[in-house]
Symmetry: C2
Subunit: 339 residues, 2 copies
């Protein structure tokens, strides 16, 4: 017989103490890393605990230590494959450090900010990662100000009080501009993301900036709002026009939209990619490598971003009042078949 893990019975440290014939605080010590207990005591307690199926109650512990070992993750939509990927890796990385992720799905609507912040604080999360498109900055700022460290993941406009981990959107977009110009494209367009997002703005700016430096300028532009439907609309507006007015290259602000654009170009407008029009995305989500799309794109090195996020956040959880940092990880152009 291996022990008494019986149905729904809460075994407390007190029960273990009684069975082992020691004090309750001794039990606590045995289960608290970094405390000193004699080998004998450890063994006695461990034995009793095993027999009773005891495990410390994390919530009770949190109450006194002030640490819940829970990280709040703000996400707004998981349609874009980049986010599930990020979620999975963030979750694993935090898990490896003994933290868990509590998910907060938020819509892009305004006004929700305060409710979300309250929710976050109510659960006593130790820190938050804001990967949502909309109200991230606002929420992150409020949390930081109430003493809960926050890191903006894949967004941020250089706010001096906020920690940000992004890719070098400007730099990535510049590489795309170079690719188009160098390969002799002449009517270069851009389909941008949601204008409320810094990521969208930086990609657009870097792209135009570099185009200008190379002596060209943008031929056409439309906003796709980072959604599939938005991108479909933008693609139609840009390409459903007489031949001569049609762009011969388009930089789409993320892969998720780029797939939609390619679908419109190939299936609705019967255009050849990349012969008649080059398409480049941003993110390098797994699907970009699938033969059906084979999308040239800028890689965000998700692993580095995740690593940086985890490190920054945990550092701030351990030691308050670290100054805000802005990490911008280099993006790398991945050349595939679409450009």
């Amino acid at each position: 017989m291996s022990g008494g893990v019986t149905k729904g019975v809460r075994v407390t440290a007190h029960d273990v103490a009684k069975r082992a014939g020691v004090s309750q605080s001794a039990v606590s010590r045995v289960f608290t890393p970094g405390t000193s207990v004699s080998p004998l005591m450890a063994e006695k307690v461990q034995k009793a605990a095993d027999e009773l199926g005891y495990r410390p109650n994390v919530l009770a512990r949190s109450l006194i230590t002030g640490r819940s070992r829970i990280i709040g993750l703000l996400v707004s939509y998981l349609e874009n494959q980049f986010y599930p990927e990020a979620l999975a890796r963030l979750s694993k990385a935090f898990q490896a450090k003994g933290y868990r992720i509590l998910v907060f799905m938020v819509s892009r609507d305004e006004g929700e900010t305060d409710r979300v912040v309250q929710d976050l604080l109510d659960y006593q999360v130790d820190g938050i990662v804001a990967a949502s498109v909309g109200l991230s900055d606002d929420v992150a700022l409020k949390c930081t100000r109430s003493g809960v460290p926050a890191v903006l993941f894949n967004r941020g406009q250089g706010h001096p009080d906020l920690c940000e981990v992004t890719s070098d959107n400007r730099g990535g977009a510049r590489q795309v501009a170079d690719l188009f110009v160098t390969s002799g494209r002449e009517r270069i367009a851009h389909i941008s993301g949601w204008s409320g997002s810094s990521t969208a703005r930086e990609r657009a700016e870097g792209f135009k900036e570099r185009l200008a430096e190379r002596g060209t300028c943008l031929f056409a532009e439309a906003c796709g709002d980072f959604t599939r439907d938005g991108a479909v609309g933008a693609a139609r507006r840009l390409f459903n026009v007489p031949r001569g007015e049609r762009p011969d290259a388009v930089f789409v602000a993320n892969d998720h939209m780029a797939f939609a654009v390619m679908d419109v170009l190939r299936f609705e407008l019967k255009l050849q990619i990349p012969d008649e029009v080059s398409v480049v995305g941003y993110d390098d989500v797994p699907m970009a490598g699938w033969p059906s799309y084979n999308l040239t794109t800028v890689s965000q090195s998700l692993d580095d971003m995740v690593l940086a996020t985890v490190n920054q956040l945990l550092a701030r959880i351990k030691k308050e009042e670290l100054p805000a940092t802005h990490e911008r990880l280099a993006g790398r152009l991945i050349r595939r078949g679409s450009a």
Copy 2:
């Protein structure tokens, strides 16, 4: 001036009580739904609370009520778009009921079971949803037995002690068999999912069963393990053969694999879909409707599954000891271009 939400200061019910000139328990009552307080008291307390920026500490509350309002969600990989979709909707649905989702990413490896169960119990989750491919049953069973209700989402083999919400995999697969036979396909193949999963087995069985009833039998079969790489391998084994031995229809156990199969067929083997070979998937993830794939598939009506899951779990959290139920929601064949 709107209030004193100052940096990192924990405002307790006690502080509010002092400011409002009432007892601490009065404050508690005002913030506990379903207690009786006079309007005057409510107002006084509310005012003081607002001024101080007070919110009850959920963890402390949990300690005494024994309810954390946290649901543990077990997922194994988010590559298959079905799972992020499910995660997003489950999260929203639970959120609407005042619960939050704590994510537990687990790999398909064996042996982890106990660690995962411990983790889950440590966090005092009120219930768990197991959507992971691997150790779901084991984990769910152990949790249920220790008094934490669990629902298996999209898996389950009819275990009498476990709550399950699945789609009618057998029925869905039968519809696919009918489609193939009716449309005159003669060499019908199947690419199956991971054999450790009930979902995979049911889909395979239903398919073969109906084929037999219609007087045919399976021409070829390969296992794709529910992964993209697995599916690529399976497709090659099945189709990279002399013309006459090549299947003219294939039912792939989920959309995620079906996309891989289509990629192999079209880009590596230069086969025409659906002319030379019909492809049907399962799940109806959003991507299935994109023109690049335009995949005929069986729809899982995710919203119904989510609703059922939430209802079952919350019912069990409120009232212990409800008998296990197995909900199998009907699947619907969505005819698109690939078959």
